[in-house]
């Protein structure tokens, strides 16, 4: 009997940090606030390491019970949900990624947010986010996972709208939360279906029950429905088509927030959830196909938007959406371990990219438009080096981390259906192109920011004056360096299928009903070569257009005319949604719910009651005329009534 790991400490420690900073942080000094936040985030990371150390001695999956929660009904239809934790290899990977990258970003934030107002609030929210994310990852049943799910949405809203006095930030926060909620609706219905048909939301129980069911080969049965609904939830949380629209707007938040929540951790919750529910998906191939299609399309779609963006963070945002598409593509072909592998490497290099972007923004005094950057490599060398590592990683260049994970996905995609693979390679080419475009525009060439230096910085970072760009302080650079190392070596755990082997007890080998044929070694090498070639092509094209002949992009844009405009404006998706959904909803809500119900029924009821009282008293007012004779008349009449009544009572 293994002694308890006290898994509850892992989420509880950041919660405590959030509480301390939230309630008392206002009076603390900045040092104290950062000390508290870093201590508790670091403690969570240490606990995760401890769990990793004890991992081999555990019997897996390891569950830990914390407290009773829900006990509803009785007899055979009783529904029980507890506060419990579930630990297996998948959990461990997620745990280390979340706590490790989270801790690094906490450190970075101390430097990035040092001159901002609301310092304590930021770290309270950040720790709160860690609590919810860890609850999600460690959850032992779907309901607890849902708590974490909703909670990270809340933390995301709070952090995106951190500078809430700015209209665009507040709106972006709302947009993120609302779009998330649409996904959560699907998730909830899936939960209801699970409760109805399996009587429980506990992972062990549900998976055992599901694994006894036969696979649904055709049509839309129960498992397919559950799978599709779970995918709706994942699409909301992980910004896939059609619910991705909140992620680019979420860049209104501070850059560490973008790094942590919208690159490394929260958006990966959807992937984690799909991977965790693989038992269901394995038996619902139609659902898996939908997952794969959504992932693939999103990857391509977002990548095309990324090539025309000029805001450095927006490029990275669309890149995130695209890379998440890759992860879903992987899950969609039942290559869950490949998807998780990419999740991990993506956390490293995308986190690094965002933090580096933050460092760049900090260096140029708040400017985010890449057209006003350039030639920064001599001013901020360390940032340059780390961001180069990350760019190479995301483009999938050997031996950086992204190469291994992306290649794994592409290989498995090819096994399932060459169409996925083809779109994947195209997307890889486009990814490489826009990432190197970013790299060239930001770091190479001449610095274009001098003429319009120091214009009003929305983040309040403009206190550095119009001088030359300067490197960030050490507290921001060290996490960059650590993440750069991880982006370099992080992929090596996948060599020889070690990572997949590690996760095999979770996902099983060959238990899925997706037909795949193992690739021959030669085919694998050919595929690798093709993807490297695509990455190289992207690099070359970026070099051509943005370094060698920088006048070309404008000419090409003019040639493409309307198509280019469409891409720059994100295919007008936001506008389409606004017309199709938002406007009718708001109008309907205004006319029906507000004017009709709230004003017409509720307000009218109250107002009419008051008006009625007023009219009655208006009529009654005339009794008080000041005229003596009318008073006497009323008296006499009233007296007659009373006498009549008394006589009648007496006679009865």
């Amino acid at each position: 009997m293994t002694p308890s790991l006290h898994l509850w400490l892992i989420p509880a420690l950041p919660l405590l940090g959030a509480a301390i900073n939230g309630f008392f942080g206002r009076r603390f000094s900045r040092q104290a606030v950062s000390g508290v936040a870093l201590t508790f985030a670091g403690a969570a990371f240490l606990m995760a390491l401890y769990v990793a150390a004890r991992f081999s001695s555990l019997e897996l999956p390891y569950t830990e019970f914390l407290a009773h929660w829900i006990r509803s009904g009785s007899g055979p239809h009783i529904f029980v949900a507890e506060f419990e934790f579930y630990l297996d290899q998948l959990t461990l990977v997620m745990l280390l990624v979340v706590t490790g990258v989270g801790f690094l970003i906490h450190i970075y934030s101390v430097g990035y947010m040092w001159e901002e107002g609301g310092f304590y609030r930021f770290f309270a929210y950040l720790n709160l986010f860690m609590f919810f994310m860890l609850t999600l990852v460690l959850a032992g049943n779907y309901l607890q996972m849902f708590i974490g799910w909703e909670g990270v949405g809340l933390a995301s809203y709070l952090l995106i709208g951190f500078w809430f006095t700015k209209d665009s930030a507040a709106s972006a926060g709302k947009k993120a939360f609302i779009v998330n909620r649409i996904g959560d609706f699907g998730f909830l219905i899936a939960l209801f279906l699970l409760i109805k048909h399996f009587g429980s939301l506990n992972f062990a129980q549900v998976f055992t029950s599901v694994s006894q069911l036969p696979g649904e080969m055709a049509g839309f049965g129960l498992l397919t429905s559950i799978g599709l609904l779970l995918m709706v939830g994942a699409a909301g949380k992980s910004a896939q088509i059609p619910l991705y629209v909140w992620l680019p707007d979420a860049m209104e938040g501070p850059t560490p927030v973008s790094a942590l929540i919208h690159a490394a951790t929260m958006v990966t919750a959807g992937v984690y959830m799909v991977a965790r529910s693989h038992v269901i998906f394995d038996r619902a191939p139609n659902a898996l196909t939908v997952v794969a299609i959504i992932g693939t399309l999103t990857a391509l779609f977002a990548a095309t938007i990324g090539i025309a963006q000029t805001d450095i963070k927006k490029v990275l945002a669309y890149s995130t959406v695209s890379q998440l598409g890759y992860m879903f593509m992987a899950c969609g072909v039942a290559a869950y371990s490949a998807g998780i592998f990419h999740l991990m490497t993506h956390a490293f290099f995308k986190g690094l990219l965002f933090l580096g972007a933050g460092s760049v923004i900090h260096a140029v005094g708040g400017e985010q438009d890449m057209r006003k950057m350039g030639g920064l490599k001599q001013y901020i060398p360390i940032t340059f080096i780390t961001m180069s590592v990350a760019t190479l990683a995301i483009a999938g260049i050997w031996p950086f981390a992204g190469f291994f994970s992306k290649d794994e996905i592409l290989a498995r995609a090819y096994e399932a259906n060459p169409a996925y693979w083809f779109i994947g390679v195209t997307t890889a080419f486009i990814t490489s192109f826009y990432m190197f475009r970013l790299w060239f525009m930001t770091f190479w060439g001449d610095y274009r920011g001098r003429d319009s230096a120091g214009h009003a910085d929305p983040h309040g970072h403009g206190g550095h004056g119009h001088g030359d760009p300067h490197e960030s302080p050490m507290v921001m650079l060290v996490p960059l360096m650590i993440l750069a190392v991880l982006s370099f070596v992080g992929g090596w755990v996948g060599i020889g299928g070690r990572f997949e082997h590690f996760l095999a007890p979770v996902f099983g080998e060959g238990a899925s009903t997706v037909a795949t044929e193992a690739l021959s070694h030669g085919t694998e090498l050919a595929l690798m070569a093709i993807s490297l070639g695509a990455a190289g092509l992207g690099w070359y094209l970026a070099y051509l257009l943005y370094l060698k002949r920088p006048e070309l992009p404008q000419k090409m844009a003019d040639m493409l005319g309307g198509l280019y405009q469409a891409v720059v404006n994100k295919y007008y998706i936001d506008e389409i949604y606004a017309t199709l959904f938002v406007k009718p909803l708001v109008d309907g809500s205004t006319r029906i719910l507000w004017h009709g119900v709230d004003q017409g029924v509720i307000d009218a009821a109250v107002n009419d009651a008051a008006d009625g009282a007023r009219h009655v008293s208006d009529a009654a007012r005339h009794m008080q005329s000041g005229n003596l004779r009318s008073y006497a008349g009323w008296l006499a009449a009233g007296g007659a009534v009373v006498i009549a009544y008394m006589i009648w009572m007496g006679v009865r």
């Binding site: 000041g626 005229n627 003596l628 004779r629 008349g633 006499a636």
Partner: protein
């Protein structure tokens, strides 16, 4: 031997005349006099019943009613004089505003 009901009818007529006078008349003093008429009608009723039942307390009560009516008349007429000083009118229809 006069039936008691005759006395009561007379009392009722007097009372009704008093009430109708109160309602019809416009001069405040006349209204006041109608009140006296009402009181008189009631007094007759009291004495009649006292005679019927043989209780002298009916007559004592009439005595007190008269005392009170006298006091009330005095004060009421004083008020009328005071109102007349400010309003210059004895018409009760024109004394219907609290404002001066």
């Amino acid at each position: 031997m006069v039936p008691i009901s005759y006395y009561l009818i007379l009392s009722g007529i007097l009372f009704a005349c008093g009430v109708i006078g109160f309602l019809i008349k416009r001069n405040i003093i006349t209204i006041f006099m109608s009140i006296e008429l009402m009181l008189n009608g009631v007094n007759l009723s009291f004495v009649a019943f006292a005679a019927q039942w043989g209780h002298l307390s009916g007559q004592i009560f009439v005595f007190f009613v008269m005392v009170v009516a006298a006091a009330e008349t005095a004060v009421g007429l004083a008020i009328i004089i005071a109102v007349f000083r400010t309003r210059e009118t004895l018409n009760v229809d024109q004394v219907n505003l609290l404002k001066l």
